[in-house]
Symmetry: C2
Subunit: 340 residues, 2 copies
């Protein structure tokens, strides 16, 4: 079993440590500690907004039983600061498996590669891929239900909503599969293609490939990425959508977010317009409708999220829930009741 120390150095925040947060929540038995010398000894819960007793350490010697060192942050551009190099080299020197989901690959670094060879350590770059197949739009089974989460921005709960819905469907005895398309999802599920790291010509093909690989399951819950109107990442979003060609969409959004994450000068369009765009952009290839909402109410009280849930249900006449605050039952019901 993985026994992980997760590097969140200088970034033990809700905004940067998405991967760490999800592993602590869904794979607590695998996470020993966070590594952040700027926060050593501080409690994690107030920093990351989750309940956990996992400590923050500043030395790998605190957990000699650890076998995996994970770079657990997401950075715009996907690089990491030079100050991390000695920490990574120390983990390698202990023979740990070093895992990264960043765009800057460990295995492209000659010093890391040489150190890993010397200490028999493994370097795992989750995003590294040489996927080169174009979509063929053939062989897709009409009998498999494909549901995809989509969003009005990046980083707003698509992965968690997808994962929780799949868990709920499995609890109900359904043959559901969470189809991971990002590094955190892949770390949780153990398979998937990191769609945002695929070469542009093959993004649609990679999404289609994930459907073809998994369509022996009854229901696929496909992790969406970013937003169809995202100034940075819309290329990823549309390729994933056109490749996976879901029959139903779950629209995810974060309460209170008005501007694009990290692009404070770009306003997010109204929800109604976003839904129209998703449906219009899939219509020529496959009938596809938004069938429910995944609300991310992490910055609001239970009462405020309850109110928002009723508001959006009424406005769009569709089921809605915050999978953390309400559980995913209503979205699972919507999927099981969905006839396409």
């Amino acid at each position: 079993m993985r026994k992980m120390i997760i590097l969140t150095e200088g970034m033990t925040t809700v905004q940067h440590a998405k991967t760490a947060i999800n592993l602590i929540c869904y794979k607590p038995e695998e996470v020993l500690a966070l590594f952040d010398r700027t926060k050593t000894g501080e409690p994690v819960s107030p920093l990351l907004g989750i309940e956990t007793n996992i400590p923050i350490i500043g030395s790998l010697n605190d957990f000699p039983e650890a076998n995996t060192f994970l770079l657990g942050v997401a950075t715009a551009g996907g690089g990491y600061p030079d100050e991390w190099r000695p920490i990574i080299l120390e983990a390698i020197s202990k023979g740990m498996t070093v895992v990264s989901g960043l765009h800057k690959y460990l295995s492209d670094d000659p010093e890391f590669v040489e150190a890993a060879r010397k200490h028999k350590a493994k370097l795992v770059d989750i995003r590294k891929n040489d996927f080169k197949k174009v979509a063929i739009r053939k062989g897709i089974k009409e009998t498999t239900l494909r549901i995809q989460t989509v969003g009005n921005d990046c980083s707003n709960g698509k992965m968690i909503t997808s994962y929780e819905i799949a868990l709920e469907l499995k609890r109900r005895g359904k043959d559901a599969k969470f189809v991971a398309t990002g590094q955190t999802g892949i770390l949780l599920e153990g398979d998937g293609i990191p769609i945002d790291a695929v070469i542009a010509d093959f993004v649609n093909g990679a999404a289609e490939e994930m459907v073809l690989r998994n369509q022996h399951h009854e229901i696929l819950i496909i992790e969406g990425q970013a937003s169809i109107i995202h100034p940075r990442y819309s290329s990823v979003t549309l390729g994933l959508l056109h490749g996976a060609m879901p029959q139903g969409l779950i629209m995810c959004y974060e309460m209170g977010r008005e501007f694009t994450k990290n692009l404070d000068h770009v306003k997010i369009p109204p929800m109604k317009r976003i839904i129209e765009l998703y449906e219009a952009m899939t219509a020529p290839l496959f009938p596809c409708k938004v069938i429910g909402f995944g609300i991310n109410g992490r910055k609001f009280s239970q009462a405020e999220v309850d109110y928002e849930r009723e508001r959006i249900k009424e406005e769009f006449a569709l089921p809605a829930c915050d999978v953390i605050k309400h559980g995913p039952a209503e979205l699972a019901d919507a999927i099981l009741g969905f006839k396409y």
Copy 2:
């Protein structure tokens, strides 16, 4: 100066030899011959539908003065057959610069790399890039006019239409720049970013970068890619559109094409719908309109293309021309008259 032999082995056809055709048309002084052992000695004109006296050869010895060997075909998936290896190795052994625009890189092949080292030959992979910048949506000059060609399918004349319009604007004394985004355009213009070979997360960023690099010009004519609804390549199309954020679009299409190229089971949506999708998908980020049509009438007579031109002009009340059969004047007029 480049003195090129262009490899079109087994693919000396209009469908596959787009790169060769464009180099023969626009850089005839640089092209010595095509290399295709299956067509040696045959005239090129009936095979490629262009007027030229360039010969088809089956041996590199026919032109000892050649200094460049170009893989001049486009293949779905971007690979090449194993039978090409000995030809490529022979070109390397002659010290020629070997240029490829395919996704399968010459410089990733240990045998080619070793041979190139030994014979002091250069390997140039036009698509190879390590572009890793996300879009920032800042610093874009409102005073530079950005016009992009778009399409209802891939390979339907976007590059030629863009290139001809830029030539025409320059003939009229304007400071226009053709912004190349594909391998053929880059070969013609000498710069550009091969947008379909960029990692998905950075496609929008690469498109934006091309604008930032070139906005000291008065007018940018940006080469579009594929189609916003293309089952294979829509990821490339949308990222390019959202990154370059043109104010005006020239819609390109091929007369008579009803189904997606290489995907005979996917019908191309009606033109009106395609235009709505492009305009809807840009509206939240930037006002953007289709301001004219680039008709590709290569399979039809002058009279038929003239008729189509009048038909589409009437239906959409917009200027239209086949830049080869009519010249690009009317589209250049539309761009110069365009107030955004």
